[in-house]
C-alpha cells in the first residue's frame, strides 16, 4: 500500500490513472500546476483513483455496447431500440465479466501455471479483447452501427499511441512525480506496507 501526504492538486499524478491516454493527459495537466502549501490530505497511489476516468470509461462502454444491441433490434424504431438496449448492454457487460471470471481466467491461470486469486488484470484484458472482437465485427456492417464500432476501435488505437508516448516519456513522468513527492520519492511516502 502506498500512501503519501499531499495537496488536492496531486490527484493528477499519472500513477493514479489506469489507461495510458488518461496518464498522458494527467501528465500534461500536472506540468502546468503549481502546488504550494502544507500537505492537507493523504493520497493513495494506485492506478484506480481517478473517478472521471473510471466512470467515463464504464458508461462509454455501456453506450457503445448498447449501440450494438440497438442495431440488432431492427423491428423496433430506433429510440425504443436504444431504450431497451441500454439496460441490456448494462447486464451483458456484467454477465461477460462474470463468465470470463469464472471460466477463462481460471483456465488461463491453470494453463500458465500461475495460481492466484487476483484476476483483475487478466479479466480486464479478456473483457477488452471480447469488446475489440465485437467492435471488429460491427465495424464491417453497412448500417449506422459501424460508426459506434469504429469510434471504439479508434479510442483503443489512440490509447495504444498514448501508451507509446508514455513509454518514451517514462523518465520525465517519474521525475515530475518525484519532484511533487510522488511514488518514486521514497522520503515522501507516509508509510508503505
Amino acid at each position: 500500500m502506498k500512501l503519501l501526504q499531499g495537496r488536492a492538486e496531486m490527484r493528477l499524478l499519472p500513477s493514479r490513472h489506469h489507461f495510458a491516454l488518461f496518464r498522458l493527459v494527467a501528465y500534461l495537466r500536472l506540468r502546468n500546476v503549481t502546488i504550494s502549501g502544507e500537505p492537507d490530505r493523504v493520497l493513495s497511489i494506485n492506478r484506480y483513483q481517478s473517478a472521471p476516468e473510471l466512470f467515463g470509461v464504464g458508461w462509454w462502454l455501456v453506450l457503445t455496447v448498447a449501440c450494438y444491441f440497438a442495431s440488432m433490434m431492427r423491428a423496433l424504431v430506433l429510440p425504443l431500440a436504444i431504450a431497451l438496449a441500454v439496460p441490456l448492454a448494462w447486464i451483458a457487460l456484467q454477465a461477460v465479466t462474470v463468465l470470463t471470471g469464472l471460466t477463462l481466467a481460471p483456465l488461463v491461470r491453470f494453463v500458465a501455471r500461475r495460481p492466484g486469486q487476483n484476476n483483475i488484470r487478466l479479466n480486464s484484458f479478456l473483457v477488452m479483447l471480447l469488446l475489440v472482437i465485437a467492435a471488429s465485427f460491427f465495424a464491417t456492417q453497412r448500417t449506422w452501427v459501424r460508426f459506434a464500432a469504429w469510434q471504439f476501435l479508434a479510442a483503443i488505437a489512440l490509447n495504444a499511441l498514448a501508451a507509446t508516448v508514455v513509454f518514451f516519456l517514462g523518465g520525465d513522468i517519474a521525475r515530475l512525480e518525484s519532484e511533487l513527492g510522488g511514488p518514486t520519492s521514497a522520503s515522501s511516502s507516509l508509510r508503505s506496507r
Partner: protein, 304 residues
C-alpha cells in the same frame, strides 16, 4: 430435507454469506473500469430489499422533516449507493491493500488523540467507512486500536466475516465482536488501562447489550451504554469520530472535541449529560451526511 433447503436458501438472504463471498469475488475479478456501472446496477437491485428500504425511508422522514415519500425513495438509492461503495472499498483494502484518499477535519483533535499517552475511546457511527477508518488509523499511527463490532446476525456470515478479518488483519488493529452485554467489558477496561484506543459504534444497539435512553432528531431512541460506562470506569476521554465518503475512493475523517463522562454521585445524570453530548455530535454528522448513515431499521420505535 426442508431444513437443508432452508439453510441453503439462507445463504442468499440479504444478510446471508453468499453476498459477502460474491463481493469478495467481484473485488478480485471485476475490471476497475466496470465497477461504477456494476455499483449502479446492484444498488438498484438492493432497493428491492423492502425492510431495509423502508427503514432508511422512515429514518429520513425524521432527519429531513417535511420530506416526501417519493423523495425519500430516491434518497434511499443514494444511501444504498454509498453503502455499496464503502463495503467494496473496505473489501478492496482487505484483499488488495488498496487504500482510498483521506482528508482530515478536526486535525488538532486527531493529533491530540494520537499524541495522548493514556487510553481513549473513539465513539463513531455506522457512517461512511468506519471499518476502513480503523485500518487507516492503525496504519499511520503507532497506537494500538481495538475495534468493537456487532456480530453478524447470520451464523454462517458471522463465521465467514470473522475468518476473513483474521486472514486480512492489519498490524496494530484488533477487532472484537461484541457478542453479549458485559462479555468484553473487563477485557476492554484492561486495554484502556494499558493505553489502547477502543473504537465503538454508538448509534445502534444490538439485542442483549446494555442501553441508555437518548433523543435523536426529536425521537426517543437508545444508545449502547458500554462506551459511556467504560469511559466513566477508566476516566479516559471519548472522541467522537465520523468517516464520510466524499466521492470515488475519497473519505473525510472528522474528529470532534473530546468529552469525559465525569463520575458524580448521580450516575444517571452523568450518563445523561454524556449521551446528550454524543447525540448532539451524531445529529450534526447525520444531518450533514444523511446519505451515508447506514441504519437500515427505524432508529426509534416511534418511527416504526
Amino acid at each position: 430435507m426442508t431444513d437443508e433447503r432452508r439453510t441453503f436458501a439462507g445463504r442468499f438472504k440479504v444478510n446471508g454469506v453468499f453476498w459477502r463471498q460474491f463481493l469478495r469475488w467481484a473485488v478480485l475479478n471485476v475490471p476497475m473500469w466496470l465497477e461504477p456501472i456494476i455499483m449502479a446496477w446492484w444498488t438498484g437491485f438492493f432497493l428491492l430489499w423492502g425492510p431495509g428500504r423502508r427503514g432508511v425511508m422512515r429514518n429520513l422522514r425524521a432527519i429531513l422533516p417535511g420530506s416526501t415519500a417519493a423523495g425519500n425513495f430516491l434518497r434511499t438509492y443514494r444511501v444504498f449507493w454509498n453503502f455499496a461503495w464503502t463495503i467494496a472499498d473496505h473489501m478492496r483494502f482487505q484483499e488488495l491493500r488498496i487504500s482510498p484518499d483521506w482528508e482530515f477535519d478536526g486535525l488538532e483533535n486527531f493529533q491530540a488523540l494520537e499524541a495522548s499517552k493514556g487510553g481513549a475511546i473513539i465513539l463513531t457511527a455506522h457512517m461512511g467507512n468506519y471499518d476502513l477508518g480503523a485500518h487507516l488509523f492503525a496504519t499511520i499511527s503507532d497506537r494500538r486500536i481495538v475495534m468493537v463490532r456487532a456480530p453478524e446476525t447470520d451464523a454462517r456470515t458471522r463465521e465467514w466475516v470473522e475468518q476473513h478479518h483474521d486472514r486480512t488483519a492489519t498490524d496494530g488493529l484488533n477487532i472484537n465482536f461484541n457478542t453479549g452485554a458485559g462479555e468484553l467489558a473487563l477485557e476492554l477496561l484492561e486495554s484502556l488501562q494499558r493505553g489502547d484506543i477502543i473504537a465503538i459504534q454508538g448509534d445502534r444497539v444490538t439485542p442483549g447489550i446494555g442501553t441508555l435512553p437518548a433523543k435523536l432528531f426529536g425521537y426517543a431512541t437508545e444508545v449502547p451504554a458500554g462506551p459511556f460506562a467504560l469511559a466513566m470506569a477508566s476516566g479516559v476521554p471519548i472522541f467522537p469520530l465520523f468517516i464520510f465518503r466524499r466521492g470515488h475512493r475519497r473519505y473525510r475523517l472528522l474528529v470532534g472535541k473530546p468529552f469525559e463522562v465525569i463520575r458524580t454521585r448521580n450516575r444517571a445524570e452523568s450518563f445523561d449529560r454524556a449521551v446528550t453530548q454524543w447525540t448532539a455530535e451524531l445529529e450534526r454528522a447525520v444531518r450533514g451526511a444523511w446519505f451515508q448513515w447506514f441504519t437500515f431499521q427505524p432508529y426509534s420505535k416511534e418511527l416504526g
